[in-house]
Amino acid sequence: MDRILYSSRKETVRRTPWYRQFFVVCAAEIMCLLLAVAAIGQEVKSGEGVFLEQLKDQAQKFLDGQRFSDMLDYLSGLRAERTDPRERFYLEYYTALTKSQYLDHLDKQEDWQHYYALVHAFDAEIIDTAAKAAAENISQTAAIDMQYLAWKAYLREEDEAQAETSFNELVKRIVAYTASEHDLSKIQETAALLSQEGKTRQLGALFAMYKEYLLNSKAAPEAIEQMAKIAAAYAADDQMDMARVAYEHYLSIIIDRYAPADCIPAMLRIAGQFRHHQFRRSLDAEFAEKIYAEIETKFGEQALGEAALFARAYNLYARGEYERADEEFNRFVRLFPASMFAAEAYTRLGIVNRYFLAREEPATASFRKVMDEFPDSGYAPLCTYQSALSAQFQQDNTRALEWYGRLTGSAGAYAAEARARCAEINTQQAMAEAVSYPLEHRVLDPENATIVLTLLSDPSGVFIGNPLFWKATAQDFSAGTVQPLFRYQWFWDTGSNEAPGNVPGFETSYSTGSPKLVCFSAKTGDNENLIFADVWVYDLVVISPASEQSVPAGTTVQFSADIDPATIDAGDFNWQWQISGPESFSGEGAQFSRKCEQPGRYQGRVTISGNGVEVSRPFVFDVAVR
């Protein structure tokens, strides 16, 4: 029944039923209560936020200044006053952070006395705090940071198993955080820390998990491109190892997900960041070549295009892969004969063939091509000079003078050199050694030639008495195929066979087991290089029966042999035993047993064969009358 309200108007007004009023009042009160709670909550959060900001500021001030003890004193003071669990959590977090950074500092300073006095106690605390952080679940980002510190603690404690587990947990947390918050900052921070520590493998694991997350969540291209942005940021910061790791994972996604029209330009862009440029050497040009090769494999030869093909050829040239560079420059001029880069390509072909591959004919042809067909090119003077050098070296003085003559009149490049060469010809002097030596020996810089040694022997499975052929080669890559004269020397670990003389290979055999260390050295001029090889020389040893052992008739005799050292797998060989005497029998395997009834002297032989080896050892034992 509606209540009747007083009204100035003499009319009857229908009132709101009481239950409706009650409902409205209650709803209003509930709303106020909720708002109040929200406000209080906000106030609490703001309070915590202020406290955190304070901690962050102090941490920055103290830790950046390496004032670790001041930071710990500060935290200790706060710990005495603060009782809120969340605030105490952050105090523990910053304490762990400070201690971890202090240990890093001591490590860097090589202050081992303090380091070893503190490390185990600190690491135990850090690991403990990390476990609590995970359990309390107060802050995702702080838990991630703590997990990172715990991982580092396990590394310091050399607990590889726990470190691996801890790192995997860290990566899971980071990916989970990234997925829920759509915030890449934790990936970036952690990746930066890992790069600073040189932990490339872990960095790869981090990006691998992120890539999996992107693939599993069917992420949109925008999300995938985030990875490229991270990588590009590293590259811009010259952190190429991190950039490579990130790009490798990025490329592995886009190669399958993107259309070629989008994929190829992205790949070429990345290759461009890593390849050698004429005025900028790359620290990781190998990655660029890997990308070019991938493009060609996936999308065909034409996919590279003019600029990319030239860039690839130059990259190979700058990496010292001269055979490959020769192939690619030749391919370039074949596919793009009218290119603006053609003159340079021919020039590089000339240099590669003359100075690195010692192929005079293609070298001359390439230099002549530039001289004759690209006379206005910036490379023409060099190629003209090289062509004239070649002629002079071959004593075709007429040609030499003609070509030098094209340079002597100008004040440009090679004018002075050309005049000097002309003077040599006109006065019938020999070419200056500094000029002729490279042509003769193909060595650009004999002082700094690098001797690369390769051991060609495979000394595995060497047994005492069996022949072993040692062989090694020496190469000076700056000299091309016309190698300088090397003087070889072989060194042995002492007590072995007489060391042979100046030979690149020889046959020997060892009379004693044990590891051998062999060193091969090659010397040319003042340059020398050494290569070492360890070889285990094995012995087949009869363990049982002992030599000249006498056993009573009717005894079960154990026959066993072993290969010493045990670094080789006895199971890789066939084992055969032959025993002759009053009774003859045979056996197989590294050990077997047999009852010997007949007294007398027995002669046995155990043989192993397989893996290109056959070795046997004799033994003797007696069976005595009971």
Binding site: S69, A117, H120, T494, G513, P515, L530, I531, F532, P565
Partner: protein, 420 residues
């Protein structure tokens, strides 16, 4: 009655005390250490000192100061470097030092050995090079030479046999590297008459090891209280050593094989079957590739080596014949580049005179064994108490954690205050 009873009790106690001291005399031979090798039932070997297992946690000790060479007799140094070193060694857990030679001044050597033992409990393995590096050069086929060396060695033994702290004798160093004629070659008409290189080498081995064996027997007659070790380079000549040198108590080998020793202990067990200690093993603290000091790799390698030694000690899963080792070496030696060039003794040269690929952190340099950098304690040109200030490297602390774990972390210096 009560007094009589008490008298009897007191008398019995006195008698028991006398009985115990009699036992002591019998056991330790007039108060000397009782040093013995024990072969366990499973064939493992243990070194016992006064009936307790003793695992040699040793260092090769030759603290040549900066600016001096190996000819400097540090044992005569009035600053007594072994006092500072002894304390550091004790803190680290070193229980033994290896001396290559007693030097010319035996009294000083004796005093040093005694002082290291009485102050720090550190015992000494005393070696003799058997004339290998003397002049005239060695010739173990010549009676005159071997008689001379024997007389010198026995005189030394007679002098030192009762020195408190003496652990054992070590005869020779890497003298076996002379068998193939490349180091200090020696020969005789009989050896020269042999046809093949191998026969000549084997003949030298027989002659040398027979000489050492005879010497060992003579030493034991003079000094039955101390063990005699055959000093050997690697396992070279082991077969001949087993046959012609059976009377030594153990073998001390010099081994540089990188992080672990491979089948070394197995080979010793198979071919020599006596306890073995590594009389030299180690890793230098210089990276021949980066051309910088590298304490991290030195520590890593030494730790790995030590754990391998322990693995092959009695009761573990290895060969059970290892009784410890002496790390080469305690301090750097700045003269190693050249013993003639005095100026170089003042420089911490980074030259590497030989290479060993198993030290893989700088093997690509080829020659990577930087002889002046093998110390686990570096030297400063600054003096402290009259000697070069000691700068313990990371390896010192890493080994300390293994050799003296009870003290690890005890001296907590706390976090240092930084200057504001």
């Amino acid at each position: 009655m009560g007094r009589r009873m008490w008298g009897m009790v007191i008398l019995c106690c006195l008698l028991a005390g006398c009985a115990r001291s009699g036992e002591t005399d019998k056991d330790t031979g007039n108060g000397k250490d009782r040093i013995a090798i024990q072969k366990l039932e499973n064939g493992d070997y243990q070194l016992l000192v006064n009936k307790k297992p003793y695992f040699i946690k040793g260092v090769c000790y030759a603290p040549v100061p900066i600016g001096k060479s190996h000819l400097f007799n540090y044992m005569c140094d009035p600053n007594k470097p072994w006092i500072a070193d002894g304390q550091l060694m004790k803190d680290m857990g070193v229980n033994t030092i290896r001396l290559y030679q007693p030097g010319d001044e035996l009294a000083y050597c004796k005093a040093m050995i005694e002082e290291l033992y009485t102050k720090y409990g550190i015992r000494t393995i005393l070696g003799h090079s058997l004339g290998f590096w003397d002049y005239p050069p060695p010739n173990y086929a010549e009676k005159e030479f071997t008689d001379y060396v024997s007389a010198e060695v026995l005189k030394t033994v007679e002098y030192f046999k009762d020195t408190p702290g003496l652990l054992m004798w070590n005869l020779g160093n890497e003298n076996n590297y002379s068998f193939d004629g490349r180091v200090n070659p020696w020969s005789s008409p009989e050896i020269d008459a042999l046809e093949s290189f191998g026969e000549k080498r084997d003949a030298r081995a027989r002659i040398y090891y027979s000489f050492v064996n005879e010497l060992a027997k003579k030493i034991k007659k003079i000094d039955p209280d101390h063990l005699v070790s055959l000093g050997n380079g690697e396992t070279v000549g082991l077969k001949e050593a087993a046959e012609y040198c059976p009377d030594v108590d153990l073998i001390g080998c010099i081994v540089y094989r990188g992080k672990v020793f491979g089948n070394f202990f197995k080979e010793i067990k198979r071919k020599f079957d006596k306890p073995v200690f590594l009389s030299e093993f180690g890793c230098d603290a210089f990276n021949a590739v980066t051309q910088k000091e590298d304490q991290n790799n030195q520590a890593k390698f030494l730790k790995s080596m030590w754990l391998d030694l322990e693995h092959h000690s009695a009761g573990k899963d290895g060969e059970g014949n290892c009784i410890g080792g002496a790390i080469f070496e305690w301090t750097d030696e700045w003269w190693k580049k050249s013993d003639c060039d005095r100026d170089s003794w003042l420089v911490h040269d980074a030259d590497a005179s030989w290479g060993m690929g198993a030290y893989d952190f700088d093997a690509q340099a080829g020659k990577n064994m930087n002889e002046e950098w093998f110390g686990i304690v570096g030297l400063s040109p600054d003096l402290e108490n009259g000697i070069n200030k000691r700068l313990p490297r990371k390896a010192y602390y890493v080994l300390k954690e293994l050799w003296n774990p009870e003290t690890a972390g005890l001296q907590d210096p706390g976090v240092k205050s930084q200057a504001k």
